[in-house]
Symmetry: C2
Subunit: 183 residues, 2 copies
């Protein structure tokens, strides 16, 4: 079975080395990216109880916590904290943008054109809109990714334009004979 | 006791009316704000277990979850998800910016110049940098607030420039005799 082979390999190589090997084979490095490249995520279900618990912890305002108060508010009904929408979006981005070394974001511009509602199913569509090689760090660059979060009706609930650090493919991943130069 | 008077008043007026009355007395409306106005928050403790749980739910990347992996990463040690820092900042903003009707943000620009570490104590300093009256909605405006999140060493871990909807003082709050015009 594939699983047995996998675990036998892990045992032989160790988790860390295995991890690096796996990443070198599947992850995307700066050279693999291009402007216009698109990524589609899976889905995130905005559970009402989780939504209220998130708001109670981080954004305890009546329109995120109480149906009646929310009806009287600018949202005209219960709305998720924008930061919950942002966090859910990050989860979907982590799962759908397989950048080598992970996604270390420097920040970006965020907008919530419409509230996320309890029971909504969110998904994220991402597109690379700019690639800026670093001048000072030759092994990395900044990738500008525009991620749009949509609900089940296709309405935009968040727009996030992120600056993400992406690494170039390390020399040893291309040239197995140069393994000794790896850190 | 003050508490008894409070509950007697609530019983007489009802929660909703009481809520409105309290807000009219203490909350800040658009007319109360000015460019350069500053607000200082309380503090938020970044607990390591909560930090890892947040990351596991919303940002499951090795440098947010595992000390050894984090040491090898660009962060050179465990770092909170930027979205956890953002959520904690929102909590501190909700407690320190008493805008009438709450803080409904349209979005803004966010940057994480330095990671938040387990055990950090965060605080937020906010300043109003622009006030834009709405052309289409005479009862509200957009207030641009720059909120800086600092750790216990005074280092900036987040900068967030937010666009927040703020309401003008309703007519009935100033003129009790016009109560019947309230919605």
């Amino acid at each position: 079975m594939a699983t047995s082979i996998f675990y036998a390999t892990v045992k032989k190589m160790g988790w860390h080395a295995m991890d690096q090997k796996f990443e070198a084979l599947t992850a995307l490095y700066l050279e693999d990216l291009y402007v216009g490249q698109r990524f589609t995520s899976g889905t995130y279900h905005m559970d009402e109880d989780r939504m209220k618990a998130f708001a109670a912890e981080f954004d305890p305002q009546p329109f995120h916590l109480d149906e009646a108060a929310a009806q009287r508010s600018i949202f005209r009904g219960l709305a998720a904290s924008g930061w919950h929408t942002a966090a859910a979006t990050m989860r979907l981005m982590v799962e759908s943008l397989p950048f080598a070394g992970g996604m270390a974001g420097l920040g970006g511009e965020i907008a919530w054109p419409r509230p996320t509602r309890p029971g909504d199913t969110l998904r994220v569509e991402s597109e690379i809109i700019e690639i800026v090689p670093s001048r000072s760090k030759p092994n990395q660059g900044i990738v500008i990714v525009r991620s749009t979060t949509l609900n089940q009706h296709g309405e935009h609930v968040q727009a996030f334009t992120a600056k993400i650090i992406v690494f170039k493919r390390p020399v040893e991943a291309n040239s197995p004979t140069m393994n000794s130069s790896g850190s």
